[in-house]
């Protein structure tokens, strides 16, 4: 049996039913699929897994939906049409036409991606809804990924569904006129989703390890399923593949985060780097250079370099200069300072850091102090390095990050 079958089918079948029911009945689709999965969990151990588990779950969900609509008379007028629709997708699923069914699932997921990432929703709600509807995660798991309480996450999802209902957001692909803004919104949500998994894959929560894979899966769907493909979708995918390729090397045996220059590059996933390069090539076709293009270019420099020393730092600095022009965020400036230090020495990097030190976000950003500490160490000032690492440790949110900084403090002789 497939790993994650329950979670996978949750994401597939909620999408296909929500598309059939309409996004205003999203919660009904989620509920009946959840009920059907519970029924599967309870009965399959006795009966064995059915030959076509998807069709079994879909049929059970269909029956629950019909019970519900008859009892509550939700669609009094539309009911016969609805029944016919659901029967149609069930016929395809239960063996009649599997390719057509798989095609419809992909199409439904793509449409629901645009619904979940509607620009009218707050960015965090877009990601939460995507995780719930398209990736089959539970509210508790999503809350853990966002360091939120399950109650707060449940409320956030309720408000998001209410918005979709009140604004009558249809599960349709966006028109040409609104495509650019809608796709941009999906990109941002996928990027957030990926980063959520990437920044803390050492955390204990079950969900994190799978977030990067889901972001890539949905990105591939956006790039390759009949929807007019945009160059920046390929750029985003290239970026995600390059970063995901490094994940196996990111933690040492003790679960401590390894910075790029300490990673065993033989552990990097060559297959993912290859996919990244294909998408990077495909991303060159567009008229605009987006932040995803620049970040993918930087990630490609790292992915293709056999060692830290042989990295093309001048090229990376160039790309960071361009990126800083698009996005004045202090985090970008911080990364640019690292590249500058590699090109022009630690003192140049430290000067660049001093220029941004007062910026509000960075004051509470442990990486700022981690980088500053590293550069002071290279500059030979162990006392200043130690101060920086200690400040960073106070600000770090994740245990793995704190452990890493503790080790750095020791290295600095503290």
């Amino acid at each position: 049996m497939v790993d994650h079958l329950f979670r996978r089918e949750a994401g597939r079948l909620v999408a296909i039913l929500a598309r059939r029911f309409g996004a205003e009945h999203l919660h009904l689709a989620e509920d009946v699929v959840q009920d059907a999965l519970v029924a599967a969990m309870r009965t399959w151990p006795y009966t064995g897994v059915p030959e076509n588990p998807t069709a079994w779950i879909l049929q059970t969900a269909r029956n629950r939906a019909l019970d519900h609509t008859r009892r509550r008379q939700v669609w009094r007028a539309k009911e016969p049409a609805l029944i016919a629709q659901v029967e149609g997708c069930l016929d395809a699923a239960s063996g009649g036409d599997l390719p057509r069914f798989e095609d419809e699932i992909q199409d439904s997921q793509l449409r629901m991606m645009f619904v979940c990432c509607h620009p009218g929703l707050p960015a965090e709600s877009q990601v939460a809804l995507t995780l719930k509807v398209l990736c089959g995660f539970g509210e508790g798991e999503i809350a853990a990924a966002f360091l939120a309480t399950p109650e707060a996450m449940a409320k956030r999802l309720v408000r998001a569904r209410q918005y979709l209902r009140e604004e009558a957001i249809a599960p349709e692909l966006p028109s040409a006129a609104e495509a650019a803004a809608r796709v941009e919104s999906v990109h941002r949500a996928l990027y957030l989703l990926f980063n959520e998994g990437h920044k803390s894959s050492g955390g204990g929560a079950l969900i994190r390890a799978d977030l990067c894979a889901d972001a890539i899966r949905l990105g591939e769907l956006l790039a390759g399923h009949g929807f007019p493909t945009r160059a920046e979708t390929h750029a985003l995918l290239a970026l995600m593949y390059f970063l995901a390729a490094r994940l196996p090397a990111r933690l040492d045996a003790a679960g401590d985060i390894l910075l790029l220059h300490r990673q065993d590059r033989s552990l990097w996933d060559r297959g993912k780097i290859g996919r990244g390069l294909e998408h990077l090539e495909a991303s060159a076709g567009g008229p605009a250079v987006t932040r995803y293009h620049l970040e993918a270019g930087i990630a490609a420099c790292h992915a293709l370099s056999p060692s830290e020393e042989e990295t093309d730092w001048p090229r990376i600095l160039e790309l960071y200069d361009d990126l800083a022009g698009l996005d004045g965020s202090p985090v970008i400036a911080l990364n640019r300072a690292v590249a500058l230090a590699r090109v022009a020495g630690p003192m140049a990097g430290l000067k660049a850091l001093a220029a941004i030190a007062g910026r509000p976000v960075l004051e509470n950003y442990h990486l700022f102090f981690s980088v500053a500490g590293q550069l002071w160490l290279e500059q030979g000032d162990r006392a200043k390095a130690r101060d920086c690492f200690q400040r960073g440790r106070e600000l770090a949110m994740h245990e793995a990050e704190r452990q890493h900084l503790s080790r750095r403090i020791e290295e600095a002789g503290g």
Partner: protein, 121 residues
């Protein structure tokens, strides 16, 4: 007949109904444990039969079954999820088999009952 000397026992599983639904990923884990347990009973020749029970049904009582209700079948806060029939030497061995049920952490209660044997006379 390898199991000639062995008796058969009914394992009946009652689950609490007032618990929140697990997430799909948690369901996968729970399901995996139940499947593994069923497989291990089969591998050891203990398994005879099993079936899940649906939620609904009827209860009949009174003169010629004239009083028909939709329940309750058991305590209101429980539902019977299904049964397994196993071969075992005696009740103690059957209870030992029932200890392998992975549901206890989720509140499952297992009843172990010997099936009455029809004597060959």
């Amino acid at each position: 007949m390898p199991n000639q000397e062995k008796a058969q026992f009914l394992l009946l599983f009652r689950h609490p109904v007032d618990q929140p639904d697990p997430s799909p990923e948690e369901m996968q884990q729970i399901f995996g444990k139940w499947m593994a347990w069923m497989e291990s009973m089969k591998a050891q020749g203990q398994f005879v039969a099993a079936a899940p029970l649906q939620d609904g049904g009827k209860v009949l009582r009174g003169s010629r079954g004239s009083v028909v209700t939709d329940g309750p079948f058991t305590e209101a806060k429980e539902m019977v999820g299904g049964y397994v029939i196993v071969h075992a030497r005696d009740l103690a061995e059957a209870a030992e088999i029932a200890k392998g049920c992975p549901g206890y952490d989720y509140g499952t209660v297992t009843e172990v009952r010997p099936l009455e044997k029809i004597p060959h006379i």
